[in-house]
């Protein structure tokens, strides 16, 4: 192939001049080389999470870029969310609308189809990536064009559309600045909103110099100069393109309106200038009515870019004669979504509006970056979405490691604008993995250990015996009082952390020694009467057994419907 996705191959002008055989059309390296090679499956790149994370953790430049970028976005988001007095009510509204959509998805999708068709658009249904790619390729071919411009879109990343089009001889040009950087570098995105977040500006300069047409020779890494170079490059594409491909942030069922929310205006160029517009959209992107958009237009910009209002919001409904594209196609993509919908807990992941707030606050994402998740959907949302879209094929499937790629710290749930309880979904998906192992009789070391621990920990006598068994650790700790080296798998802990030796006396031994009658309450009560008390009355006080203090007063009716506590602590319970 003489070009990559139709990009003219350019000789390197950067510091990293290729000294390899300069085969005709061979690409000069974009940069020193931290690109992730294009995977065969956009939702399953190859490495398990721990393997990919290990590589990422060793990349000091990546760590610095990510720490800087995520902390900047985090602070911006926190500031603009903090100024909205009804933020929690907005989150609840956003969540409720999406829950309603999931409950009525078939009828709402048909309503959308009717309204798009009535206004001059054509609706296509795609069960999976291959079907969607086939539909889009055929639509482009029917126009006779061999080049298309693209609006940033997760759905087309998910199906690997650019690669599929390239195989059909169609060149797709990404026009979002960050997607352009990723595409030029022959890299993969590492963030939902900021796909080149793993790059800093000097790396971007190098990529532009090596890979982009007509980049000014003396271009520095000043953001303005970089943006102007990209702008000049993209303008040429906008003015010549006859076909555009987009995703969609929202589709309104009751009007047939599509919405794209973006910051640069490049999306709007694509949505208005070409003659043909093809939109690929996941079926969960629906909202029932036009007024529902008001909730999401407040939630999305503040959560994603930390802006009060979105800069470029493009809405279009079918075809408008004499204005904008005269041929509009909407491809509705399933690709695993109905499978996710069938899981009563897992379906909450389909509420996602791709704001990426969960990535920016995630302490794991901040350390390892997006590529470690091995999917175009990285971060906490990726960890619950990717394995549901693909399903898991067992232990060898890298996606089975994704639900474990979290400490369950809960920062993601706290910022999610549609209140997806990501930690609970992660635990749920872990449980599904365990259940699948059991159902398929796949024994695991973890399974055996957990079974043994369950036996020990479900009975106090067995537990107390096991505690005595830990005395061996005291020997290992020796005089240091801590253990610094254990054989595998204990080495996974002691590689970086000491383990304290168990105490000479466990708590229950201490309790039994200091409360010799040992039946729980009795001994404690007697001893307690000898304890000095700040209240002189209490030593003499004999409490009738029935006169329990009125706190925390719980009635049996509360016991049956434990709403109040639950509602406060875990709204989505």
């Amino acid at each position: 192939m003489s070009t990559f996705l139709g990009l003219p191959s350019l000789r390197s002008r950067g510091a990293h001049q290729s000294d390899g055989p300069d085969a005709p059309g061979a690409l000069a390296p974009a940069i020193a080389g931290d690109e992730v090679p294009h995977p065969d499956e956009p939702l399953r790149w190859g490495d398990t999470f721990p393997e990919a994370a290990r590589k990422a953790l060793g990349n000091t430049q990546l760590r610095r870029n990510l720490a800087h970028a995520t902390s900047t976005i985090r602070a911006k988001r926190a500031a603009v969310v903090g100024e909205v007095p009804d933020w929690e009510a907005l989150r609840t509204a956003g969540s409720d609308i999406k829950v309603d959509v999931m409950a009525r998805l078939p009828e709402l999708l048909e309503e959308l189809e009717r309204n798009v068709t009535a206004r001059g658009g054509t609706v296509h249904w795609a069960r999976d990536a291959a079907e969607a790619n086939r539909i889009v390729a055929d639509l482009v071919k029917a126009t006779g064009e061999t080049e298309v411009v693209k609006v940033k879109s997760m759905a087309t990343q998910e199906i690997g559309l650019n690669e599929a089009l390239a195989e059909e001889g169609i060149a797709a040009f990404e026009t979002d600045l960050a997607e352009l950087i990723v595409q030029l570098a022959d890299d993969m995105p590492s963030h939902i909103l900021v796909p080149a977040i793993h790059r800093n500006r000097s790396e971007i300069r190098e990529i532009f110099l090596n890979r982009m047409e007509s980049t000014p020779e003396g271009m520095t890494d000043a953001p303005r100069e970089l943006a102007m170079a990209a702008r000049a490059h993209l303008r040429r594409k906008f003015l010549s393109a006859k076909v555009a491909i987009s995703g969609a942030n929202f589709a309104v069922a009751d009007t047939g309106t599509l919405a794209v929310v973006e910051s640069e205006g490049n999306g709007r160029m694509c949505l208005t200038l070409p003659e043909t517009l093809i939109t690929v959209m996941g079926i969960e992107k629906l909202v029932p009515t036009f007024t529902d958009l008001e909730v999401f237009m407040q939630l999305l910009p503040r959560s994603s870019t930390g802006e009060r209002m979105n800069p470029y919001t493009s809405l279009w409904t079918g075809v408008t004669p004499g204005d904008g594209p005269q041929d509009f196609h909407l491809v509705l993509l399933d690709n695993g979504r109905t499978k996710a919908l069938s899981d009563d807990v897992g379906r909450a992941a389909l509420k996602c509006i791709r704001c990426s707030a969960c990535l920016n606050v995630c302490p794991v994402y901040e350390r390892v970056g997006g590529h470690a998740y091995g999917s175009v959907y990285p971060g906490p949302i990726g960890a619950i979405l990717t394995p549901q879209l693909t399903g898991s094929t067992g232990h060898s499937d890298p996606n089975s490691t994704l639900p474990f790629a979290s400490t369950l710290c809960g920062a993601c749930y706290e910022v999610c604008p549609v209140k997806i309880d990501i930690p609970s979904l992660l635990v749920h998906l872990r449980a599904r993995t365990v259940e699948e192992d059991k159902a398929k009789h796949r024994p695991t070391a973890w399974g055996a250990a957990m079974k043994a621990a369950s036996y020990v920990m479900s009975d106090a006598d067995r537990f107390a015996k096991a505690e005595k068994g830990t005395a061996v650790l005291r020997l290992m700790g020796g005089k240091k009082g801590r253990i610094s080296s254990l054989p595998y798998p204990g080495s996974l802990w002691t590689g970086a952390r000491d383990l304290p030796v168990p105490p000479k006396e466990t708590f229950r031994q201490w309790w039994a020694r200091t409360h010799p009658e040992g039946d729980g309450g009795g001994a404690g009560r007697e001893e307690r009467s000898t304890t000095p008390s700040p209240d002189p009355r209490r030593g003499d006080e004999q409490r009738p057994a029935s006169a329990a203090t009125p706190l925390p007063a719980e009635t049996s009716s509360t016991a049956q419907s434990p709403g109040p506590t639950d509602a406060a602590g875990n709204e989505d319970a």
Binding site: P50, A53, P363, R367, V368, F404, T407, L408, C409, G410, V427, R430, A431, V434, K438, M450, K451, A453, S454, S458, D459, A460, A466, S484, P489, G495, A496, R497, L499, V501, P503, K504, T506, F507, R508, W510, D519, G520, G521, G524, R525, R528, P532, P534, D535, R538, R543, T549, P550, L551, P552, A553, E554, A559, P562, D566, A568, G569, N570, A573
Partner: protein
């Protein structure tokens, strides 16, 4: 959250009967935390009992996805503490944010998914009377000044589950600020996870270590002698890194600091290389 209408005024000196859920990890590895909890609550004039049938809340099994193996552990916990529903005790206290979180948000769910609706209802009812230590002190017992004395430089790490599952807010800090003689310093990036995450620290040990490293950097930047938190699992993780790197910072549970008085001080354990602190209890 606790319904404030159910909370007595702080002035009402009633003796509250409190069942202690010591937690498996503290029972076996860090008895100083439940011991200090007993010392503290008794000093405040309350009765503490230790139901000996207890073992574990089941959190490790649940969070690793082993619901079926968690069920007997949860059943044992719920049955052990069910007498709180018959006014045998007034409340259950847990010196751990994550165990309280699991009791409150996971136990009933696991029972329900196993089709054990009756056990789930009991679990929910027991959970409604179960409090993390700072919740019990501030919300239920209505006390922030527990009469403690601890003349050391201390920084506080708010553990993720206490912060985001229980929403304890600044209750532990209210308690610490009232401690006589304490030099309480703010921990930078305090709300960022330490990287423990239970089995995460094994399954993703390298990422866990990267997070731990940043947490330790922030801890050391405070110049504190003691790092405190409401959960010994997180403290085991951070403390394991601090002793490994000879950082000269000790880890102590919040209860140990609150249990310390001028007459019976809790001495901070040596930073590395000595046996765990012996807490004076009674």
């Amino acid at each position: 959250m606790v319904d404030s209408s159910q909370i007595p005024a702080p002035t009402s000196r009633i003796t509250v009967r409190i069942a202690l859920a010591a937690t498996c990890i503290a029972d076996a590895m860090f008895p100083q935390a439940p011991q200090a909890t007993v010392t503290l609550l008794e000093r405040l004039g309350h009765e503490v009992v230790f139901p000996p049938e207890q073992t574990c809340c089941g959190q490790m099994h649940v969070n690793t996805g082993y619901y079926a193996d968690a069920l007997p552990v949860i059943k044992n916990h719920v049955e052990t503490f069910a007498p709180v529903l018959d006014a045998e005790w007034d409340a259950v206290v847990v010196p751990s944010g994550s165990c309280t979180g699991s009791i409150r948000h996971q136990q009933a769910m696991v029972c329900r998914r196993a089709g054990q609706d009756a056990l789930a209802a009991t679990a929910d009812a027991v959970a409604a009377k179960t409090y993390e230590l700072s919740e019990l002190l501030v919300d239920v017992l209505g006390v922030t000044d527990v009469g403690a004395h601890f003349p050391h430089r201390v920084t506080y790490h708010p553990t993720c589950h206490s912060l985001r599952m229980l929403h304890v807010g600044d209750k532990p800090l209210q308690l610490l600020r009232a401690v006589d003689g304490i030099d309480l310093v703010e921990l930078p990036e305090a709300e960022s996870c330490c990287g423990f995450g239970g089995t995460f620290s094994i399954k993703n040990s390298e990422t866990s270590t990267a997070m731990l490293s940043d947490k330790m950097t922030h801890v050391k930047s405070t110049g504190a002698e003691v790092l405190t938190a409401g959960d010994y699992s997180c403290l085991m993780h951070i403390g394991g890194g601090l002793t490994r790197t000879r950082a000269g910072v000790r880890t102590m549970h919040l209860a140990e600091i609150l249990a310390s008085t001028r007459a019976e001080p809790t001495r901070p354990p040596a930073a590395a290389g000595t046996a765990p602190v012996e807490v004076s209890t009674r």
